[in-house]
């Protein structure tokens, strides 16, 4: 009898401990990872690459489920993340400068304060390319052509208000010349026109050019240091043009995340980033990585918003 009641008491105590610890232990159910683009795109591939590593490093046998909510160049997905409960069970992909540019050129239901900034994973610098048939194969020749006649240089880009567009605005002020934007809908038709020589130059990202070095002249890369994906491409800074810009892809959660949940997520992202297998997977899928965690990411976002505002005020794109 005495033994039985003792064991019941012990069982009660044990179960008490496990329940309280379970309450405190994030994550205890599946985590939704909202992707603002369709399955198979660059952002989606990043999300699907990272999900199994997050599961591993968050522990508790948690599953991270990728949910595609495509539309309005990612805005529908971002809005859903901003409006989700800040409990750590909804996180989402976040693209810069697009996410912040949309708060300027559209009525967005979110702003920079709507998010807890987790980690920026991908930084894909812009490159200037010209068709192989073109005789413009250096920056100097490009600037010369642009200055010689207004409207002589047409620029293929994948959309308005994206990283390629912002880069062009920076280029325009750095070189003091005018360029004609030719905004295609998406990068495929833009590249087609570029490779076919129907436009003078194009602004794309380094990940898109590494496999096409024989088809395109690459004039420079808009990063601080040369890219490990293409060591031979000189940076613009080396060539005397202060141009650094790119497409950033990372992850955010809704604002107001509990501190312990936030620190767990940040730790998991850091561990994922440090995992060599993850780095290999990202390199294979053509994603140049550069980590900005937590506060660093928030600062990066503020910087991008500032840039977008500057351009929007001086040279609005619509």
């Amino acid at each position: 009898m005495g033994f039985k009641s003792l064991s019941v008491a012990a069982a009660l105590i044990v179960s008490c401990i496990t329940t309280t610890s379970a309450l405190a232990e994030y994550p205890e159910k599946k985590i939704d990872m909202i992707v603002g683009f369709a399955a198979g795109g660059g952002t989606d591939v990043m999300a699907r690459n990272i999900a199994p590593y997050l599961e591993k490093y968050l522990g508790n046998g948690v599953s991270v489920v990728v949910k595609n909510m495509p539309g309005a160049s990612g805005q529908i997905g971002i809005t859903a993340v901003a409006e989700a409960d800040p409990d750590g069970y909804t996180i989402g992909t976040y693209n810069l400068p697009g996410a912040m540019a949309r708060t300027l050129d559209r009525n967005a239901d979110y702003d920079a304060d709507s998010f807890t900034y987790l980690a920026n994973i991908v930084n894909d610098p812009n490159v200037i390319v010209t068709p192989k048939s073109s005789d413009i194969d250096t920056m100097d020749k490009l600037v010369e052509a642009a200055k010689a006649r207004s409207g002589a240089v047409t620029v293929a880009m994948s959309s308005l208000g994206g990283d390629d567009h912002f880069f062009l605005q920076k280029l325009s002020s750095a070189t003091g010349a005018d360029y004609i934007t030719v905004p295609f809908s998406g990068s495929a038709p833009a590249r087609s026109a570029l490779m076919g020589g129907h436009v003078t130059m194009g602004i794309i990202n380094v990940s898109e050019v590494v496999n096409f070095r024989d088809e395109l002249n690459v004039l420079g890369i808009a990063s601080k240091e040369r890219s490990n994906m293409a060591e031979d491409i000189p940076t613009f800074q080396e060539q005397g043009y202060d141009l650094v810009n790119g497409s950033l892809r990372g992850f955010v959660a809704p604002a107001g995340l509990p501190d312990d949940v936030e620190s767990k997520l940040l730790a998991a992202f850091q561990q994922t980033y440090d995992d060599p297998d993850f780095q290999t997977a990202m390199r294979k899928s053509g994603n140049p990585t550069e980590l900005a965690l937590g506060d660093d990411f928030e600062a990066l976002n503020a910087e991008q918003l500032e840039l977008a505002k500057q351009i929007w005020e001086t040279q609005p794109w619509k």
């Binding site: 990728v66 004609i180 495929a188 087609s192 590494v210 619509k318």
Partner: protein, 503 residues
């Protein structure tokens, strides 16, 4: 390069990889046959699941789905006048009248044989001629694509139907729908009324399902009286092997439509529906009895089905070599490659020849399998669908359509939009407005407008850019020929007739 092709064969012939293609083709036929589900969607749903698979297994399933769906779309197009995919609209022109005449089984057999032949032609072109054809893709900048769109519109003016005014109103409605969304050139939103869901424009599947699937489904519900389903369920088919000899006379159409399909496939942005419309029209123009077309001419089914399958592997030519997808499906497939760390471009052929060339073989096998799997399915299984009581069939179609449209972007907004189009389609049907011009207006109108404006931007506003390249000049000549030749032939005929009267 051809050595690589042979080296890639053994891996493709392994049991698992063959099985993947078989599963893909069957799944593709089913997806294509269900209105509201399309190949694009099926493959994008599949992609996440392929993450852990062997690349060739994943790609084999995709190749199978693409080929299967392009044929599958013709099944409801023939049996119910509901195109299962956008590319099957032209198949319904003659396929449905054939079914009404009790020749639905033969129509499906023509469709499956033509689909397989188109697919085989396309796969062979992909295997043997990919690098030179990729160069053709690059000849087409915005200027040239604009002229292709104009050519498409002028070539298929007959789709306007008997009543030209009503046809033009339908076409204008399609063009209007193509305007909805963000104008990519200026960034301004057109007719979006603040809805984020409208910014990217209206997905063709939403419009197609609303206009084409809902009104006939409602029509099925209206047939409350239970008539003799025993007879209508019979397709009057013979074995497909006995039917094939009678089709051999379509060889010219098969050839012509394959060429058209391949050509449209390598153009960036155009898709299977444009290939089908164009080749239907060209086949009709070449026919000795054009007046029978639209009333149950099997050659019309052959033309449309050959070219929408000839579009499949061809669309991968610029996709694999240049990273420029020829169709929406090819774009999704690129995503499927990327997820396996396979990036398009010349490097892909150098670094992973066994996968690229294996993928090409899989396209060929998928097309050949279509005859066996599609032939068997078409003659037996799908005929049974027609034996269902009409209201039940209507209700099933409506349910499927809801699921399909919802799953495009995972949102109800598209379903409401589809219901709106359904209402419009229902009244258009009752008031005898033709539906094909709407689809065409949506596809070609937007295509023409955007490329015209891009071309003018490149040319600095100077209209002479439109005739600046040799390719553009050839296209202009083709447009003029299409517009002028009927006028001249009519004049000649009138003169002959008047001479006869005088004599």
């Amino acid at each position: 390069m051809y050595g690589n092709l042979i080296d890639a064969l053994p891996a493709v012939l392994s049991l698992g990889n063959i099985f993947a293609v078989v599963i893909g083709v069957i799944a593709g036929i089913c997806v294509g046959a269900l209105p509201g589900l399309s190949a694009t969607m099926a493959i994008s749903v599949l992609i996440p699941f392929t993450f852990g698979m062997d690349p060739l297994v994943a790609l084999g399933m995709m190749a199978g789905i693409y080929n299967g769906a392009m044929y599958g779309g013709s099944i409801p197009a023939v049996l119910l006048r509901i195109p299962g995919t956008p590319a099957a609209v032209a198949t319904s022109f003659d396929g449905y009248p054939m079914a009404q005449q009790g020749r639905g089984g033969y129509a499906l057999q023509v469709a499956v044989v033509s689909s397989a032949l188109g697919g085989i032609a396309s796969a062979l072109v992909l295997m043997l001629l990919a690098p030179p054809l990729a160069k053709v893709t690059l000849l087409f900048g915005p200027t040239e694509i604009f002229w292709v769109a104009v050519f498409g519109m002028s070539a298929i003016v007959f789709l306007l139907g008997g009543d030209i005014i009503k046809g033009l109103i339908s076409a204008a409605f399609g063009v209007f729908v193509s305007l909805i969304g963000v104008d990519t050139i200026t960034g301004y939103e057109r007719y979006t009324f603040g809805h984020l869901e409208l910014l990217d424009g209206i997905n063709i599947v939403v419009l197609l399902v609303g206009l084409y699937a809902l009104p006939p489904a409602i029509g099925l519900l209206e047939e409350v009286r239970d008539f003799d389903t025993q007879n209508t369920g019979r397709l009057n088919t013979t074995s497909i092997w006995k039917a094939i000899p009678s089709m051999l006379k379509y060889w010219k159409t098969w050839l012509r439509s394959s060429v058209i399909g391949v050509f449209v496939g390598i153009l960036p942005g155009a898709g299977g529906s444009m290939a089908a419309f164009l080749s239907y029209n060209e086949a009709r123009r070449a026919s000795k009895n054009p007046e029978d077309w639209g009333k149950g001419e099997p050659e019309g089914v052959a033309a449309s089905e050959t070219s929408n399958n000839a579009d499949t592997a061809a669309a991968l030519i610029p996709a694999l070599t240049l990273g420029i997808p020829g169709t929406a499906v090819a774009a999704v497939m690129l995503g499927g490659l990327l997820i396996h760390g396979l990036q398009p471009g010349p490097m892909l052929f150098r670094d992973n020849p066994e996968i690229v060339f294996g993928f090409m073989w899989q396209f060929l096998f998928a097309a050949i399998l279509l005859i066996f799997l599609g032939g068997a399915l078409a003659t037996n299984s799908f005929a049974q669908v027609l034996r269902l009581p009409r209201p039940l069939l209507g209700a099933i179609i409506i349910a499927l359509v809801f699921i399909g449209v919802y799953s495009i972007n995972n949102r109800m907004f598209d379903v409401y939009l589809m219901l709106g189009f359904g209402l419009i389609g229902y009244f258009m049907d009752k008031l005898k407005f033709p539906l094909p011009p709407v689809v065409l207006g949506l596809i070609l109108g937007g295509f023409a407008e955007q490329n015209l404006r891009l071309a003018l931007r490149i040319g600095g506003g100077d209209w002479s850019i439109l005739a600046s390249s040799p390719t553009a000049k050839v296209l202009i000549a083709m447009v003029l020929l299409v517009i002028v030749s009927p006028i001249i032939s009519r004049r000649l005929r009138a003169r002959k007739a008047s001479k006869k009267v005088a004599a």
